[in-house]
């Protein structure tokens, strides 16, 4: 076998392999580029009637929960959400793909309505307690999770 034939065969096979590889396999479909610029809060403050009722600060592992009891059948005022960064400074969420997602441990006790992007209302449905978890979602994945906090609902008189 002449050297030229060998090289020709090598070139043919490798050209084929490489072309297939280039066509289908070179790019990484996972890219984090868009992730770089969006804010990454490390805490959040929930404010009701001008008072912070739930707080999670970055330098404190524990959640501060002063959420007032609600009477069954009542609805709270508007609870605003303010995210804060590593230094405790406010973080403004401006991405259109960001939104809040709530998880209620017992949906027969409370319900949540969200009239604004960064504010919500709690409706007390029946006596008992329920844990509420709030996540800051970015498209289909969470960027921040507020630890679950308990809301007590008292019986209506």
């Amino acid at each position: 076998m002449k050297k030229a034939h060998i090289l020709s065969a090598v070139k043919s096979v490798f050209t084929f392999v490489i072309l297939v590889a280039i066509a289908t396999a070179c790019s990484n479909s996972t890219s984090n580029d868009e992730e770089h610029e969006h804010p990454e809060p490390e805490g959040a403050l929930l404010t009701l009637n001008g008072e912070v009722v739930v707080a999670k600060y970055p330098d404190n592992d524990n959640l501060i929960n002063n959420f007032p009891s609600v009477t069954a059948g009542d609805q709270t005022g508007l609870i605003t959400v303010q995210f804060i960064d590593h230094d405790g400074d406010p973080v403004e969420i401006e991405e259109p793909e960001a939104y809040l997602r709530f998880n209620i441990s017992n949906s027969s006790v409370i319900d949540v309505e969200q009239p604004e992007d960064w504010a919500f209302l709690v409706t007390a449905l029946s006596e008992g307690s329920a844990e509420l978890t709030m996540e800051l979602m970015h498209e289909d994945h969470p960027d921040f999770t507020l630890p679950a906090f308990t809301i007590e609902v008292m019986a209506a008189e």
Binding site: K3, L7, V10, V13, F14, C26, T30, N32, D61, H141
Partner: protein
Amino acid sequence: MKTLFIHILFLAGVFSSGNALAEDSYLLSGFITDAESGEPVSFAYVHIEELNRTAVADADGYYEIKNVPAGNFTLSIHRVGYRTQTREIAIKESDQTIHIKLKPTVLGSQSVDIVGMADNMEGSNLQHASKKVMGSDLRRNLGNTLSETLSNLPGFDERSMGSAPGRPVIRGLGDERVLILQDGVRSGDVSAQSADHAVTIDPISAQEVEVARGPQALAYGANAIGGVINVVRNQIETSVPSRTHGSLTLNGESVNTGFSGAVDATIPYKDFALSLNVNGRLANNVSTPLGEIKNTYYESTNNAAGLSWVQDWGYVGGAFSSYFNNYGIPPDPQGHPNGVDIEMEKFQYDGKAEFLVRNNFLKVIEAEISLKNYTHKEIESNGSLGTQFGLVTTNAEIKATHNSLGFLDSGTFGIWSEVEDYAVIGSSTPDANSYKIGSYLIEEANMGKLHLESGLRFDWVLNKPVDNEPNSSIGNIRERSFPALSSSFAAIYSLGNGLSVGTSLLHSFRAPSLEELYSEGPHLASYSYEIGNPELEPERGLAKEIFIRYQSQRANAEAAVFHNGFSNYLYARDTGRPSNRFPDLNTYQFVGANAELYGVEFSAEVQLLRHIVADGSFSYTIAERKVPDEEQEATGYENNTRPLPQIPPMKAQFGLKYTKSGFELGSHVRLAADQTRTGEFETPTEGYTLVDTFAQYRLEGKSLMHTFSLNINNLLNQEYYNHLSRIKDLRPEPGINVSLLYRLYF
């Protein structure tokens, strides 16, 4: 794209400089017969180790390997039911006929027959610190994962997190310290990174599994201080078989109502060999003595097609393979009560060539290029994406094997390169690339009863984020480069009468990985929030081992004492603190620490009576890290050392089997002691005793061989916990499992 062109240029340079290629090569052929009955032995696997040329004996016991150059080689012949035979052969510029007589044995696949020197092993026949799992041992231990398949070997354990993700741990060393290869090429996945990531190699199609340590391991990387595990599938055949051959495998098991199947075939056509592997697995949730573990299902398939063109001068070939695995991670009541689902896929393209060289110095030149595109998504039970990992890996390698040179009997040298394109969605980890280049030289010499091996390897690693982030919350994210020299040495001395002693040393080097340097963010399925450290320095290790081996017709035994010292052991330390952003996830900080792992290992197999064989093994590893003064002051911890996490307990295993005419019946008892030496925030694990039983039957015909393996693991349905399982505080290991494996060789 740029990296691919770099690799193409790299290979093109070598091809264009090739000269003096072999124009003459020869045919090696012969008949394989039973040493006692004289009957032909079909389905024997003949292997020229230095050239990786293989053949399978036909119904008449005839084998042939074409295109063998002149030279001295090691020929090994494996066949279930017979002692593996190794012999030195010399091809002297003419076709060669070598008839082989195999001795029947009731011992396992580690039983090796050294032709001509059975009781006085010398020189290269002693081999280095390596193991092979094949034949009946492979079928009996075949698990759903590679690590499960190997976990009964002494010193081997399995890091797990449910049914699908498992990775081998050797002598307490895992992750990046154990390299996993398929046909000599890195797997291109992120299984070393985290317990929830599966290895993208399915053991069901493995023809054999090799484990290498010491100088030979340096050919694959400087970081494999634990060892190199190579799954041999031969997707690119190195020789054209004389007929179509292959196997069909069917397997079912009760513990998860799982089913798997595989077909492997090699088809010759003129000078071409077409290799096809198709396999798939399905399983439901796994059962335990405490009930079913939710979300431990899996569905996977790993398929490949390869074509090679074999000529007098060598061969050239290519292969394409795909791997898909959808599996569940069990629930964590802290934050993911329904568990996490993982969707994993990998596409792999390989090209390989070998050139036989007519040259006084060189014997063979091999070239290889491989491209792997890997993605996996971790999905919450509500369907939202938690984390997504993407890794595109390109490897290229050129290596050459030389003839004897002075006092050196043989050697290999080569250049290897790798480019990784890594990205994560769902965390703050920046996109980053890793560029690696390495060169190595491994030499062997035999001096009478002394066999010597040594290896040197130089590596240069550049880890580079796409964008520098000097003010990142984890530190100054920037490019880092790490050059280093690694070395290894091994010596084995024959004491006669089948007894040999040896030692091996390995000075390893491991650059911090992209994840260890730059990670910052939630890792959903491993229930962790990972924090990298851009200032990490490389890990350097010094592995030392002394061993003694005995081999005879009726017994094999090996004992080893080992010590691995690390000047900067890199690992993710559980801080015990919840993440600010994701309070249901604990933060894991990548750190380096001075550490040492040491222990003992023993295994033996003895033929007690003509049809009765006993075997046993024992292993124990102690691992601890130094605790600096400042950490003692900060944490109040008062000792200078602290156990490392995820270290296996002391383990032992005893077995007895009856074997006659292709039938085996036996039982094993597996014992593990309590593991009370725990790392930070790690809980102790109770010991256990398990009983397994098995039966195997081999039905041999002229053109077909049927094997049946019935295994019952955890016969007494014991509740037990694997210390290396990330969910061991929540879930026990599987209960009683009845599995039936049928394999047809054709």
